[in-house]
């Protein structure tokens, strides 16, 4: 399957990665090559095979529904590029 530049642009947008227009054709070509490689999977008969959800047979265990953590605001914010007044700060979202 061949990916065109519009699809490459859409995927970049969905992934929230800025790609300049002049880089899109090369990106589309790379995607096409990788997807061409992946398309070998179409040769496999997967009728009646369930998609794997867990590689080991164990079920996810349940923990007790209790508070075990919290009250660490300073630590949570310590690595933020911009933290103010106890919050993460971001560009204005609502006018």
């Amino acid at each position: 399957m061949s990916i065109d530049t519009d699809t490459a642009r859409r995927v970049a947008k969905l992934a929230r990665i800025k790609v300049e227009d002049d880089a899109l054709p090369a990106l589309a070509q790379e995607f096409s090559a990788i997807l061409g490689f992946i398309e070998q999977l179409n040769e496999v008969d997967v009728d009646g095979v369930e998609p794997m959800t867990s590689v080991t047979p164990q079920r996810l265990y349940r923990r007790d529904d209790v508070v075990t953590d919290g009250d660490q605001q300073d630590k949570v914010l310590a690595n933020a590029p911009d933290a103010r007044e106890g919050f993460f700060a971001v560009p204005k979202v609502v006018e």
Binding site: R16, F31, F37, V46, M52, T53, V55, V76, P81, P91
Partner: protein
Amino acid sequence: MSDLTKLTIAAARDALRKGEVTSAELTSACLTAIDAADTLNAFVHKTPEVAESQAKSADQRIQAGEAPDLCGIPLGIKDLFCTKGVASQAASRILEGFKPEYESTVTTQLFDAGAVMLGKLNMDEFAMGSSNETSVYGDAVNPWKVDDRQLTPGGSSGGSAAAVAADLCLGATGTDTGGSIRQPAAFTGITGIKPTYGRVSRWGVVAFASSLDQAGPMTKDVRDSAIMLQAMSGFDAKDSTSANIPVPDFEAALTGDIRGKVIGIPKEYRMDGVPAEIEKLWQDGTAMLRDAGAEVRDITLPHTKYALPAYYVIAPAEASSNLARYDGVRFGHRAKLDAGDGITEMYEKTRAEGFGPEVQRRVMVGTYVLSAGFYDAYYNRARRVRALIKRDFDQVFADGVDAILTPATPSAAFGLGEMKNADPIQMYLNDVFTVTVNLAGLPGISVPAGLDAEGLPLGLQLIGRPWEEGDLLNVAYALERSAGFNAKPAKWW
């Protein structure tokens, strides 16, 4: 004692307990070796203060007669592990300046056992790569060298492999999503084991593809892998996929007796384009196990061919989801914004600046295969194929096979930069022998078994039954004894 950095973990442990050496001396020898090896670019964040303080505590514990196996042993830690107060950036620009407020479970367990952290080790960005050339820190360099070229130590755990092979530390942590412990171990003549999925906690290890990622040790020999894996393993309530089953004594499993064990040789691993000397090494390894009393049996794993394409759907899909958290809000890099830029521009610019080309490529491929209209055709189909790959192994083990012997890599270490203009799929082929093991959640170990005509190390891989790392390590131990590999890179750095 001379050449302290060349000691195995087992030899250092015994010397420490006998009082022949102190952890402070071992640590100081390693720190000196590290400072003299900047050319290898293996250690990217050095932590001498942490190391010296941990060594001091370890020496006190040893004197008090209360010393676990790893007490006082200097180790290197892959940059993918979060270490409290110490830079942990997965070799990515997007985590520049990130200093975790917490300690990963693996490093917590190692430190509780008395291990000493010398520093953080180079790797491919977010563990995506097979040559350590995608790192924000620059390439790590293989201590093995046969001509003017600088060679890759492999990847993604390239810094770990280079550091252990060059005797900068006694052992190192690695992680393996598609071969990232076993391929670099093979390229540098050391031993590395990826345990069964769920054996080692993933908590605090920067996530790449959560259903495939497992941490493991990279060491100078099989015994050291057994010792270090022991300390890294065990149930962790903070990782919901961690297995709540007992961890056996791996070192005690190393009897070297493999009489009656059934070793499978999968015909699908005989591939076009693989050098004759790797084929020969594989045959030699088979003969060694037979001579040691194992029964060798031809087996078939029919879906092997589809492992790499399935992996390159599943791993990018999980990566695109895991790496969504790098948004410039909570940690790491945030792009400088222009007037009028809103939050979407902040995300897009931050991720374009913060992620390197290979990471961007995989995040976008993952986004594509998960997007509406393609989810079934790509992602669900890949998960079905994954189930078939696992079924192949289940069948072979049900038929009585104890371990499977294969080559570890399709070539010896190649030159840094040599794959620069190759298309990404050429690089992906490095993992052709290792990636099946991650898809099936099995334990796999790479053991150095010989040198190629140029004098570069080659490894063989053994694949074991789930949760039978002890048995697998024992077969590896028998192979190691028969192969007698003891070559070391000549020091040029």
